[in-house]
Assembly symmetry: C2
Homo-oligomer: 251 residues x 2
């Protein structure tokens, strides 16, 4: 049977990264696009529970069905599975995100929220991100790597509760693919304090991302060395190493 | 030195769960409240990057400073650390949430996003949730358990990148505390399809949560048996068990 592939993103249905993704994977099966109407960066795993959602059909491009939802990336996946697709897809792909989703940023990432939704349902899922934030960036050279990863994933499937976090360097000289672990880091926030036209103060978030470490087997290391990084991500956040010690604390 | 404790929630600064939390922990140190202006359920780890944020001082209650932010729970933590507190807090607490945050729901939870933000900065952090969704629920009997957990956490600290996910049964007959691992589950979504007053269709999210498993060492099992569950949560989502096999697939 032809493979059914759901595509989504967090930069909105018209974002260039999504169009590149479509062009790279269109020969792997039947594609259906369900993506947010507008950019949803920073929405992480948010779901819309307090307001109504609209589902809008867009003109197909190259016979590919396209729909938008006035909500978050996770809303799109849930809507696609319940109201758009007639069966469980064989693969869910988020991206290609215009910007990095390395390290702990998986928690803030709408692109990875898409893949995590798939993992929760044991559907093989991948989030693709580019380290370049410029929407005009030419992603054509990512095609080779995206196709390789999609092909291997469709062939081998994925363990339960697991998805892939793929980040691609901002470079035309990519050396290959490395399987990595997530590096650990944090944001050093400093809100910009400003005054509005009514003389009232407001703040705008800005911050610098810092790494605690960059070991050789981590995503950040691989990317700096111009490799595509793949982190297999599992939605079990239990700190197993701490379980025994914590149990003792409560005895 | 007196302990500095940051309190936040996702049900909004006036939610009863937060007032219970304040009353339970006020003797452990200096409390500062920075919470969303309004309810933020389902916002998960969302951050506000595309619109301005306002920080509003509320009247202190029992000399406890209170501030609201017109944003998400994570916005509140970031704003507190950058603009409200004069030093890194000794503890960050989210809650008490009106509703469960067990199993994989940590990904959707604003309460746990608060704790995860703390974990990212290596600040001991706890998210407290009640399995009761009713804002009028009398939480007084939770005091004993909340105090025990806060006391032990302040005494022992926490490993890097780790926080606690605490859920409390909807019951007055709580038997004790169990240290658990996260159970695995998923949402079975079925959007309600409705017609608006202009005859246009819209959808409203609803769903049923299902478990894949409920082993004896899991949070869901402990709660059903009327224990408070504590899952130590680490923000490293790497699927280490899959690393070797995945590496082979790309050789």
């Amino acid at each position: 049977m032809e493979k059914l592939i759901l595509l989504c993103n967090d930069d909105g249905i018209e974002a260039p990264g999504l169009q590149y993704l479509i062009s790279f994977v269109k020969d792997f099966g039947k594609l259906v696009v369900v993506a947010p109407e507008t950019g949803q960066s920073g929405m992480g795993h948010a779901v819309t529970i307090s307001s109504p959602l609209r589902l809008r059909a867009h003109s197909p491009i190259d016979d590919i069905e396209r729909y938008s939802v006035n909500g978050t990336p996770v809303d799109c996946v849930k809507m696609a599975l319940d109201k758009v697709l007639d069966r469980k897809p064989d693969l869910i792909i988020g991206g290609i995100n215009h910007g990095a989703n390395t390290s702990v940023n998986i928690l803030y990432s709408g692109t990875m929220a898409i893949a995590l939704e798939g993992a929760m349902l044991n559907i093989p899922s991948i989030g693709f991100s580019s380290l370049c934030y410029d929407h005009n960036y030419d992603m054509a050279h990512y095609g080779k790597w995206v196709k390789t990863i999609v092909e291997i994933t469709l062939k081998n499937g994925m363990p339960d509760s697991t998805c892939l976090n793929v980040n691609m360097p901002h470079s035309n000289e990519i050396k290959g693919i490395k399987i990595c672990r997530q590096s650990m880091g944090y944001w050093d926030e400093s809100f910009d304090a400003r005054i509005d036209t009514h003389k009232k103060p407001y703040y705008w978030l800005r911050g610098d991302f810092n790494l605690y470490e960059k070991p050789e087997d981590s995503d950040e290391f691989a990317l700096e060395d111009n490799y595509v990084s793949i982190v297999p991500v599992k939605i079990d956040l239990t700190n197993y190493e701490f379980l025994a010690d914590l149990t003792k604390q409560y005895q």
